[in-house]
Symmetry: C2
Subunit: 205 residues, 2 copies
Amino acid sequence: MPKQVDHRERRETIARALWRVVERRGVAHLTLREVAQEAGISHGALQHYFTSRGAMLAFAMDFAAEQTSLRVGRGMRELGDRPHPRDVLRLMLIETLPLHADARAASRMSAAYVLEALHDKDVHARARDGMLQGRALVEQLVRQAIADGHIPADRDPANETNLLLALTGFTPLIELGVIEPQDALTAIDEHLNRLFTGDDRDASR
Amino acid sequence: MPKQVDHRERRETIARALWRVVERRGVAHLTLREVAQEAGISHGALQHYFTSRGAMLAFAMDFAAEQTSLRVGRGMRELGDRPHPRDVLRLMLIETLPLHADARAASRMSAAYVLEALHDKDVHARARDGMLQGRALVEQLVRQAIADGHIPADRDPANETNLLLALTGFTPLIELGVIEPQDALTAIDEHLNRLFTGDDRDASR
């Protein structure tokens, strides 16, 4: 179905053009017109895909989330058949940080989207749903790791999940050069080491 | 010097008007004209204080940082003469979270400022300096707490500082309703409890 492929390709082209505009000028200056120009299409053609700035942002955000999932999926395959839950959580955390160009674009989109959410109910609901899904996935991994003895049974899964999610707070600190990427990775590894102390006892790893 | 007081008051009025505009419509729609209207002064009068949108944002950010310092200062006085370093770090962390109206305004300004910093060198340098100062203050407290035996001596002060700073990552999670304020506080307390285990040994607290 070449037509559908074209449609999808065109939307990707637009999403990437939107990222470049956000990267260069910030979300404050993001307009349909600017994105059309960057994507090399007419304003009218862009409106065929997105009827509003909000719809365009929502698509760019979904596309960013999709790209992040694809990167996590690739990383998972590298971890082999039965990946250790510590490595899975590490991969998920690290792919949200702005450590390479694609992740940085997604992370900047995400930050812009959170700001938009503060004064737009639809964006708020959509951003919240996405983050709640991510949170549920992390909590499921934590609960399974407790059940399997990797994390001590006296740890509260909801609380540990919240602490893991808070580590996404390294993003603005890395973006502003307050904390070096390598130091953020060291801190994340240290946090995970303290969480996965169940493995020390049974040496199952 | 009533004239200086007036000048300062006027700038504060403008900063608070700016916050309301950011709160209501987001930084994307922030213009000198909009802020002048919200503050109830003419565009020309506003330009007397700020020659550009960037200068206005920088002032609003400094004002937000100043207000946060004042709140931390008030909290410090409530902690008494010789506050425990755990309580000082808790106070500093919590006052950066959007848990009440003033802190929320400052936190939203800060998020907007970080986004602006990504494509504005001056804003980047200014935001980085502010955050580096905050980081240095936290690291100094951590080092002193290690020296005083509150935190075990085998903890790396730079790494512990980075983990504490990452907890500011609760901000977007609270703003989007992904994590409840009370759950963020519980997680922060748990993290501090695990850090200040030196007190368990000598029961100095």
